[in-house]
């Protein structure tokens, strides 16, 4: 068990990779065996993630050096700086890892019946597992170039999955837009990494953070990294590709793509807080994040009210919710240089932003899955053609209501507990931010009521009289996420104390991240 935990960071990345290339030979022999392989490997990965989380909460940051004689040997004998690939898992990384393990497992279970009628399922699961690898890699790596590689792995497999259903033109268009945007964002990240490498000859984030100077080139690199990751996240006005790509993907993949967005957001936070943490012009960058965050919230939600396609509608909501996180963490970043303000409300703002990532990662895939269930039942994404579906889809309706109440921040549910953290801490920074946040929340509820009415309410329509509730595996996948929502709803302070505050402290405390790499010199 101890050895398993020691090696768990790389096992979490490598097991989906191994399973990805096993799906093809096994899937040719038996479909059932392949499905079992996918589910079992992802369950095992989820178990490893939770075991690692427990270890990190006890022993602090977990370091893993690839190819070394011992995993904690970060700097090889005879070298001054870390040269090997290093995985570094701290409180923030492991929180993202927990989210990703739950959502990817739910998405795989959902796919079992959502994809059942498509051809090329072996490839589908290969790509899905590769995407899982890419996501975990982005979250756990302590090396800038590795971040780029895993970003590209996640992007390429994601684009292929978006375009998986080749029958219709819009999937191809969505996949093409996603891959073009990803390729350009990825290349800009690489360019920025080159700028940093040219000055410091380092790629390790911790070692780089120790020597970084904030020269003009560093500023350009910061802007490139920040905006490239923000584009992958879907920040207004760089969100235009987001609904195009997310609305056409199979619903299980859309749920996972939301978390890859969060992974890019995590990378942006990592760059701002850890890489540039000591030297960054915190108020300016913080205000950039806040301004774009407000724009994201407001434009996202107003565009969502306008939509008539159920998946596009939810995609715009995903954009709008991402704005809350940018604002929360942006406020924290703006007061990073001021310990007094940071203690009064900065830490709470960052915690609220991160808590919102966790909550959003539970209810948004759930809503996308219900959207996929609607598509599964009706064969269309067009809300104007739907109506009266609650008569037939009882489980989907209940789960949709849970997701709706949660995303709108209706009090007993988890969406509210993170929003109140953001509102109250941000209010002390600038009251206008809270007011806009509340308006956006109201509009969110209004638009979800509209979608709920047009899809589920009303008399039973003659064209949907026939048909059954969606298959069991889809319901189970939605149930997993709904159970997560209920758990966070009932025990918000348990979650905040055990997961969110360590994550926020991991972002604020740059020194611990650096020491974990450079302090371990033998």
């Amino acid at each position: 068990m101890a050895a398993l935990i020691t090696h768990s960071p790389i096992l979490i990345i490598a097991i989906p990779l191994l399973a990805a290339f096993l799906t093809l030979p096994i899937g040719m022999a038996s479909k059932k065996a392949r499905n079992a392989l996918v589910i079992v490997s992802l369950t095992f990965v989820a178990f490893l993630v939770f075991a690692l989380a427990r270890d990190i909460s006890i022993n602090g940051i977990h370091i893993y050096t690839l190819g070394a004689t011992s995993p904690d040997l970060t700097t090889p004998t005879g070298f001054m700086v870390p040269v090997r690939i290093i995985l570094e898992v701290d409180g923030m990384s492991i929180l993202m890892g927990i989210i990703w393990s739950i959502v990817s497992l739910a998405a795989a279970i959902y796919s079992l019946s959502h994809i059942a009628s498509e051809t090329g399922q072996n490839r589908f699961y290969t790509l899905l597992l590769l995407m899982v690898t890419g996501g975990f890699g982005m979250m756990f790596t302590g090396d800038l170039f590795n971040l780029f590689v895993f970003l590209e792995i996640a992007s390429i497999s994601g684009a292929a999955l978006i375009a998986f259903r080749t029958r219709s033109a819009d999937t191809q268009e969505g996949g093409f837009k996603y891959i073009v945007v990803s390729a350009i964002a990825g290349l800009m990240v690489l360019f920025a990494i080159g700028l940093l490498y040219a000055q410091y000859n380092l790629l390790n984030i911790g070692a780089l953070a120790q020597v970084i100077q904030y020269t003009t080139l560093d500023k350009i690199a910061l802007a490139l990294l920040l905006i490239a990751f923000a584009m992958k996240t879907g920040m207004v006005p760089l969100h235009l590709w987001f609904p195009d790509a997310y609305s056409v993907a199979p619903a299980s993949i859309t749920g996972m793509l939301v978390i890859t967005s969060h992974a890019c957001m995590y990378a942006a936070f990592r760059v701002c807080f850890t890489l540039y943490g000591g030297v960054i012009d915190a108020p300016v960058v913080g205000w950039i994040l806040i301004v774009f965050g407000l724009l994201t919230m407001f434009v996202g939600v107003t565009m969502a009210v306008y939509q008539k396609d159920v998946m596009r509608f939810m995609s715009y909501h995903a954009i709008s919710q991402l704005g809350y996180m940018w604002v929360g963490v942006g406020v924290g970043l703006a007061v990073l240089g001021n310990p007094a303000l940071l203690a009064t409300y900065g830490r709470d703002a960052i915690s609220g932003g991160i808590f919102h990532i966790l909550n959003h990662a539970m209810y948004k895939p759930l809503l996308f899955f219900t959207g996929g269930a609607l598509f599964h039942y009706t064969g269309t994404r067009d809300l104007t053609k739907m109506g009266g579906l609650a008569h037939k889809m009882k489980w989907t309706t209940i789960l949709y209501i849970i997701g709706t109440l949660s995303i709108s921040g209706i009090p007993p549910l988890n969406g509210f507990s993170s929003k109140i953290l953001i509102y109250e801490s941000v209010f002390r920074f600038n009251p206008i931010l809270t007011i806009i946040g509340i308006i956006v929340s109201i509009l969110t509820l209004a638009s979800f009521t509209k979608a709920f009415h047009s899809a589920f309410m009303g008399a039973e329509l003659p064209e949907y009289k026939e048909g059954k509730e969606v298959p069991k595996s889809m319901i189970i996948a939605m149930m997993i996420l709904a159970a997560g929502i209920v758990f966070i709803t009932l025990f918000p302070s348990l979650i905040v104390d055990w997961a969110i505050h360590p994550a926020a402290d991991a972002l604020i405390d740059q020194g611990a991240y650096i020491n974990a790499v450079t302090g371990a010199v033998p």
């Binding site: 490598a14 191994l18 290339f21 093809l24 040719m28 893993y64 070394a68 690939i85 090329g120 072996n122």
Partner: protein
């Protein structure tokens, strides 16, 4: 399908391209090159075959299914080699000092010894296998696409 002269020359050249590609793969740990580069060289031969014969002809020899299995095998060998070092750490070069590719060359300029590098030459072969299969499948699929045929699975 191009003329008989082109086809014959292509067939003859294919051997040299294969040999050169494998040379690059095998010497990946000593000279510039490696799995991807050597694989790409061999796939350039496949592209040449594709030009000389047409995609329908080539499809009879290069089966989609075989290419898929070959690609998966290459990837699996690579990951298995990485996993094999997990006694120390993932990707640990456990073959150094053993009879297989285990010689340790002197640091500094040396004439080059093929029997060095530990798992690196083996990984080069695995990557080479994957690249040959993967890129061949890509060019073949695109050629079939543009000739208007659907590929199954």
């Amino acid at each position: 399908m191009l003329s008989k002269i082109v086809r014959t020359v292509t067939n003859e050249f294919m051997l040299f391209i294969l040999v050169f590609g494998f040379y690059i793969i095998a010497h990946g740990h000593l000279t510039p090159g490696g799995g991807f580069q050597g694989g790409a060289v061999i796939v350039s031969g496949v592209v040449m075959l594709l030009v000389a014969f047409n995609s329908q002809e080539l499809k009879k020899t290069l089966h989609e299914r075989a290419l898929s299995i070959m690609e998966s095998t290459g990837a699996l060998i690579f990951i298995a080699l990485a996993f094999a070092g997990i006694g120390a750490a993932f990707f640990y070069n456990f073959l150094v000092g053993t009879p297989i590719f285990g010689r340790i060359p002197a640091t500094g300029p040396n004439p080059g010894d093929i029997w060095t590098g530990g798992v690196i030459p083996l990984m080069n072969f695995a990557v080479g296998l994957k690249v040959i299969a993967g890129l061949s499948a890509v060019v073949l699929a695109m050629a079939l696409f543009s000739s208007g045929e659907e590929i199954e699975e």
